[in-house]
Assembly symmetry: C2
Homo-oligomer: 345 residues x 2
Amino acid sequence: MKRTPDRLSYAEAGVDIAAAEGLTRRLAHLAESTRSEGVQGRFGSFGGRFRISEDAELVASADGVGTKVLVARAADRHGTVGEDLVNHCVNDILTEGAVPLFFLDYFACGTLEPDVAFDVISGIARGCRENGCALLGGETAEMPGVYAPGDYDLAGFIVGRVSLPVPGRDSVSEGDLLIALPSSGLHTNGYSLARKVVFERLGLGLGDELPGTGESVADVLLRVHVSYLPFLRASCDRGAIRALAHITGGGIPGNLSRILPGDCDARVDVSTWDPGPLFGLLGRESGLEIDELYGTFNMGVGMIAAVSPDEVRQVLSEIDCEGGTGFVCGVVARGTGNVVLERAG
Amino acid sequence: MKRTPDRLSYAEAGVDIAAAEGLTRRLAHLAESTRSEGVQGRFGSFGGRFRISEDAELVASADGVGTKVLVARAADRHGTVGEDLVNHCVNDILTEGAVPLFFLDYFACGTLEPDVAFDVISGIARGCRENGCALLGGETAEMPGVYAPGDYDLAGFIVGRVSLPVPGRDSVSEGDLLIALPSSGLHTNGYSLARKVVFERLGLGLGDELPGTGESVADVLLRVHVSYLPFLRASCDRGAIRALAHITGGGIPGNLSRILPGDCDARVDVSTWDPGPLFGLLGRESGLEIDELYGTFNMGVGMIAAVSPDEVRQVLSEIDCEGGTGFVCGVVARGTGNVVLERAG
């Protein structure tokens, strides 16, 4: 692959994707060694499934918000990263047809600043309320020496119950259409690289306008990760969604591939949407090739649903009816499990 | 309270307990704002309870291992902190009568060193296997800028099912005896202060002998948090345990008080056990008063069970039968919800 001389990669921003992928395979073996009767499916889906009785199956997921916490800290605006975290988790388990039951948080910091911790966890509580999820507990840890004074990290754990028929990759087949739901920005992914581009390469400050947006860098970078549960619930509930891919780390290629059967490709027409000024700027200024760019950032799409062609119109109207927006961004074609980004328009 | 001139407190070690306690109260209100139908009981118990059907109640808990991770890093021995984390979580939900179903981890680091991450998560998997718990998923996050290169943090989240009749504080009454189960060391609590004493005040290195132990500082400080599930399961199963206090942050006073009804005190006779060389050294060298010392470290006791007098002999023999050790350390007396440390011997 051709590389432009001033190309910034995720590795150069300090994140080693290949090391992470190798590790993931080794960790799957570890997880397999603990398998018990209740465990359903394979390690590596968006959420782990656990059957607790004939009629009750749970899905659980753990997440963080990445270095978005550094933007929150720099901007001294701590009230929304908690909501990011909850919404991220809610989307993950939605792909398994689960609706949230409860959530627990882990907040760790170098020096406990009670007002900061309270702001962060207020965001978690708001995210929980908005998604009908109970905040059942959490851990607040003060760890001088691990975190610098003022620094903190945040992890969340969600448990939901399988309540919606979203059958998943085995039900996806040639001819299905791919409906994209827009993201609100970076969501919780790609911040290490985005921060390098925005703050170091462009030299922007948090209060500066992010070019082309009419909004401050802080506003754009801290925009809350969308919860897609309200937009997709009706369509999922009536069985109209075959599979859902939450577009997080790995972008569209890395996540859409998780809902593809081995004999299908996803052909995504990237000309069907405008990624908007933030992703446009990241594309220009990072110097990344298109595959790397779409493999790093969500590029304006936060969730993709695979839907049979005869359901598309109704699904789009249900999303719209709940205040969301959806559009057809591609199709499932005969293939070998690959995501192909093309520009048909 | 008299303070010795060279007294070290938790606050001086960088941890502000009072700020944490004020925050905990505010967070309880936030959690209340998210309460849904399934939530059982009050925020602030060792694990949050959630009823999912007529016959299934879950208990969930989130935890970290504190700055024990810094000892693991300094010693370059990463294989046991994961087991600490699982056992800590298992004990927390055991106090609610729950046995583990599944576990998820969050591992975050400054630079992903796959072998370190693998070692850490191997420890988690081993802890899961030993406790009959499935490792259902997890998140591995590389966060340069939040964590220094080589640094990491670790959080865990457990879900169990209420399967053992441990009725809790409302069943505890005057005359009940308190059975203590020994800890293996600091478990996962008090490391910020202990590190200050051992490394800074005494100037010991990880390979040095911890005075009086015949073992290295690293061996003593990294000893694995005990899971009390195997030792207590039989007694819990037949309803012989009224309540359990997991002795973590806050020590015996801070945790035993959580299982006391308002009209009872717990009178703990600290002469009934020898805290051993590690806690002896921490007591002498920290200069802490006895209340502070027992309110910071577990002082050699990892779990306390409240048991009616006529069950004590049988419970002790059941613990013994599973390879554990228990001894009567005190009694529940008429009072006002306080834990009184005394030296009757």
